[in-house]
Amino acid sequence: MTDRDRAFAEYFAARSGAMRATAYLLCGDWHRAEDLVQSAFTKLYVHWNRVVRHESLDPYVRTMLTRAFIDDRRRGWSRRERPSDAPVERPAEPPPTDDRLVLLRALAEVPPRQRAVLVLRYWADMSVEDTAAALNCSTGTVKSQAARGLATLRAVMTAGPPPPHVRTGERP
């Protein structure tokens, strides 16, 4: 194992869980969240030397993760690579509580870019400027997308989910 492999593996062990939680909020599915995390960390591995020297690792990975999520929405997500063929093991998921279900369903109704803004700003606690850099847009766009996203959430959580044929966002 090279120095890069060791350093990368340590960082992955420390931070992949947090990144997967962010990805889960973006896409609403653990399998897909792991695909997004793998995609982001693979990019990090390829550019490891440059990123370690010049950038903070967490913002870089979050940016790659979010862009992979948005790109997936454009292309369909079946192309994603898995590092192994083994299925993701997970505990039997208890039935979600009402509140949790309501929030995740409502989040799924928010269009992907607005959802990305909401998750980066209010889950990952990224600043408006950092969120704008991650999404390659202006700070004004981040502010307006956040406001629209919260408005969509309010509307969905007040009214309940609309029938599938009128949904504005994409289901995860």
């Binding site: 990368f8 593996a9 869980g17 960390f41 997970r90 998921e93 209010y122 400027e129």
Partner: protein
């Protein structure tokens, strides 16, 4: 639901969500290696195709080797350009890097000997040569483990990057000068200020300064990311990009040295350095 409510709801939701087991770091490393191998193979295939097309045009209708052709006899990896990582043997997941002197492959993207290493060393020597009068150049390592003098040559995508940094000291205070060169094909922005603001992704307030008849982008005040205080960026007509930077601090981390009260170079001097021919490395 306002911002506060949403933030709280996210935390409550994720606390209650049962997570799958941790992901496997070794699988992530394997996937990363595979990506590097695929990337280098594609890069070489493109280069080989270009070379063979040119050779074919020159030599007439000879059979050309293409990826997946199965007729790979005559393709000699040792003959590939040394600037890029070379394709590994089939079944080997470890990427093979450019060859250093004396014929050893690099361990990673950094060249530790050979002509690229020498270019990094040359950049370091040129940077030392432009340290203003009145400053000393201390050696050794700061408390945070960062060397006070350093240089590196690393392959980055389709180009090479050379980095040199020198701590500069005056009246007990220590700052830093830094130069970074990206060779042709670096993919960096073309306009002066976009180029300057792209340096390490730092942004900042940029001015276009004319130095020696050419326009140089200079970030005169950093933005939120203030790892450096000022930097100049110049793109040569052949695409080579030169950054020259200065900082009041000796390192980015926890250095024990008091910072400089003033930067070593005025903005026009910094801009002029970025366009100097001695930093135009290939």
């Amino acid at each position: 639901m306002n911002e506060y409510d949403f933030r709280e709801a996210l935390r409550t939701t994720m606390t209650a969500a049962p997570e799958p087991p941790p992901m496997d770091p070794s699988a992530a490393v394997t996937a990363g290696r595979r990506a590097v191998r695929r990337r280098t193979t594609l890069s070489l295939a493109g280069a080989a195709t270009a070379v063979l097309v040119i050779a074919g045009l020159a030599a007439g209708p000879a059979r050309q080797w293409l990826p997946g052709d199965g007729g790979g006899a005559g393709w000699d990896p040792a003959g590939a350009p040394s600037a890029m990582p070379t394709a590994p043997a089939a079944g080997n997941t470890k990427p093979t890097w450019p060859t250093e002197a004396p014929g050893r492959p690099q361990q990673d993207a950094t060249a530790r000997s050979g002509p690229r290493y020498e270019q990094g060393r040359k950049l370091f020597a040129e940077l030392l040569a432009v340290v203003p009068d009145g400053y000393t150049t201390p050696t050794g390592t700061a408390r945070d483990g960062i060397p006070l003098q350093d240089h590196q040559a690393a392959v980055e995508d389709k180009a090479w990057g050379y980095l040199a940094s020198v701590a500069v000291r005056r009246q007990g205070a220590t700052g830093r000068l830094l130069a970074e060169v990206h060779t042709r094909g670096n993919g960096l922005p073309t306009t002066p200020c976009k180029l300057a603001r792209a340096f390490w992704g730092m942004g900042g307030d940029c001015e276009v300064v004319t130095a020696g008849g050419t326009e140089v982008g200079v970030v005169v005040r950093p933005g939120k990311d203030d790892r450096l205080d000022q930097w100049a960026a110049y793109r040569h007509p052949d695409g080579t990009v030169v950054y020259v930077a200065q900082s009041r601090n000796a390192t980015n981390a926890d250095s024990e040295f008091p910072p400089l009260t003033a930067l070593p170079l005025a903005v026009p001097e910094l801009a002029a350095l970025a366009g100097q021919p001695q930093f135009h490395l290939r």
